[in-house]
């Protein structure tokens, strides 16, 4: 039975890994952090695999784990992040490659919760209610967080255009 569950989980992990990694990268903006986050998420998913496998949507369940691990790790690592933070790379970091648009650096500057909401709303295409359930917050908070995130992006883009002008 256990062997069977392990095999199920391994198959799931192999299939889910690329998507999970991409989501993790969108939230963290760093490959190393994304790998840590996606790996921790799968480790937790395995720990609760019986529950995950029974869920209506295992993917949604795992995305919830990922988001919560991301947000809690950001709180724990607040101090560390202040000491070491990512900045635009001269050339090699993919997120700063010219193939990416102008918006990505500003998305990375959003506060972790705002970034998580933006990723869930606009990358995962989740409804506000679904995001609220996933994060354990009210729909109103999702709305206001999204609004603030977009306002921040708008302001950042506006100030840059002002500089350019």
């Amino acid at each position: 039975m256990l062997v069977e569950a392990d095999a199920d989980f391994s198959a799931y992990a192999a299939e889910a890994w690329p998507g999970l990694y991409r989501r993790a990268f969108l939230m963290t903006g760093q490959h190393a952090d994304a790998e840590d986050l996606a790996q921790q998420t799968l480790i937790r998913a395995r720990r609760h695999w019986a529950k995950v496998a029974r869920a209506a949507s295992p993917d949604a369940y795992v995305t919830r784990i990922l988001t919560n691990v991301f947000l809690s790790s950001r709180q724990r690592a607040r101090v560390t992040r202040e000491v070491l933070r990512a900045v635009p790379d001269a050339s090699a970091e993919p997120q700063h490659s010219p193939i990416h648009g102008d918006l990505w650096p500003y998305l990375l500057d959003l506060a972790p919760r705002q970034r998580a909401v933006v990723v869930l709303r606009f990358y995962e295409d989740l409804a506000e209610r679904e995001v609220a359930e996933m994060l354990g917050i009210s729909v109103g908070t999702v709305k206001s967080t999204t609004h603030k995130a977009l306002a921040n992006l708008r302001a950042a883009l506006g100030s840059r255009e002002g500089e350019l002008a």
């Binding site: 192999a14 193939i99 990416h100």
Partner: protein, 383 residues
């Protein structure tokens, strides 16, 4: 296109271009401590029960042993250390007159009086050539001003970076010396765009700042950057603060935007651990700053250094356990006081601190070894 649509398109575009690494192992780290705690609790219950049962039966009471006195080693220190112009390594004096010393792990790097930089492991010596200035001092407490040229030793002694655009006597190439193999690698010319200020123990990583102002890609603000020398072109990662010391700590010592000093241990360009030393005791100028504390090489103890600059000759000094945050004090040997103005001392790998103590009446100076875990110091044999 609305901003929402732009965001959606951007996120998809970024996600599509992410290169996904292979699935890593998903082994959980085994949590041993709950088992240990449970076992300890069970043992405590058993012992408690037995004690209770035997409390009035003196004939069965086990003999009470006096508390064991923890012995602090009194032998001469074997770590590299400077006594005036005398350099000691492995407990023996290295011939010559020496001005500066820094060590990490088994490696030491020193400047001889003739301005030659010399490094070694144990008593072996390798001459790196003449250097105009040096990067740091021995001991746990001093922060050197930045922007000086000279060889840099990584905190654990694995690498020495030397040369570079402020390098030695017109030599503009930057080199990385692996102290385990003795092999030197000349780094690509692109690294000449940055003045190197420190090197980490992680393979092929150099920390740097003072960007070339003629380089449009270089950052404008003064910040410390990690350069991954394994990549070409150089990968940059900013340290959200400035490097304030190249030596005297088991990791890079940085000061963040709020003036708080940290010791940061990097693995690659990721933070493995970071310990807050506290706010800089004076000013914000790197040339006039000192770290508020010194971290032991095992990352277990913080020695508060403020006393070293605020008190004349204290008989106790505060230390804090990093794991618990609890502060205790370490007492000088009876009849002696700490002589902090001479030097805060040298940490030994075992987490003991070798420092100078002074006798008030006779002004005699001796070396003492202090064990924060015990809260005491003993005089050590002179080498």
């Amino acid at each position: 296109m609305s901003l929402e649509q732009l965001v959606r398109a951007e996120l998809r575009s970024v996600a599509d271009q992410v290169v996904v690494p292979p699935l890593p192992p998903l082994e959980e780290r085994r949590r041993i401590w709950p088992v240990v705690v449970a076992a300890a609790a069970a043992m405590a219950l058993v012992i408690g029960g037995l004690t209770w049962a035997l409390r009035d039966r003196g004939e069965h009471r086990p003999p009470v042993e006096p508390p064991k006195r923890v012995q602090i080693d009194r032998s001469a220190p074997v770590i590299p250390w400077l006594d005036g112009e005398k350099l000691y390594v492995g407990g023996e004096q290295i011939p010559g007159r020496w001005d500066e010393l820094v060590s990490g792990g088994e490696t030491w790097l020193a400047r001889r009086h003739d301005l030659h930089a010399v490094w070694g492991r144990g008593k072996e010596q390798h001459d790196l050539g003449r250097v105009g200035s040096f990067y740091g001092t021995a001991g746990a407490g001093y922060v050197e001003p930045l922007g000086m040229s000279g060889p840099f030793l990584s905190p654990g002694g694995r690498y020495i970076a030397f040369g570079g655009d402020q390098g030695n006597e017109g030599d503009s190439s930057l080199r990385l010396l692996d102290t385990r193999t003795g092999r030197t690698t000349e780094l690509p010319a692109e690294f000449g765009r940055y003045a190197v200020d420190a090197v980490t123990d992680t393979e092929r990583l150099v920390a740097s700042l003072w960007p070339d102002t003629e380089d449009p890609q270089a950052p404008e603000a003064r910040e410390s950057y990690v350069l991954d020398v394994g990549k070409s072109p150089a990968r940059l990662k900013a340290l959200g603060g400035e490097l304030v010391s190249r030596s005297g700590a088991p990791g890079l010592m940085l000061r963040d935007g709020e003036g708080v000093v940290w010791v940061v241990d990097l693995v690659g360009s990721r933070v493995r651990r970071a310990v807050e030393l506290g706010p800089s005791p004076v000013g914000t100028d790197a040339s006039d700053s000192r770290p508020p504390a010194s971290l032991s090489p095992d990352w277990k103890w913080l020695l508060d250094l403020r006393w070293a600059f605020e008190q004349e000759e204290p008989t106790t000094v505060p230390v804090t356990a990093v794991d618990t945050g609890s502060t205790t004090s370490v007492a000088a040997p009876r009849g002696w006081a700490f002589a902090p103005r001479l030097a805060p001392g040298f940490w030994e790998p075992a987490g003991t601190l070798v420092t100078w103590v002074v006798k008030a009446e006779s002004r005699e100076y001796r070396l003492a070894r202090c064990a924060p875990a015990v809260g005491a110091c003993v005089l050590v044999e002179e080498p």
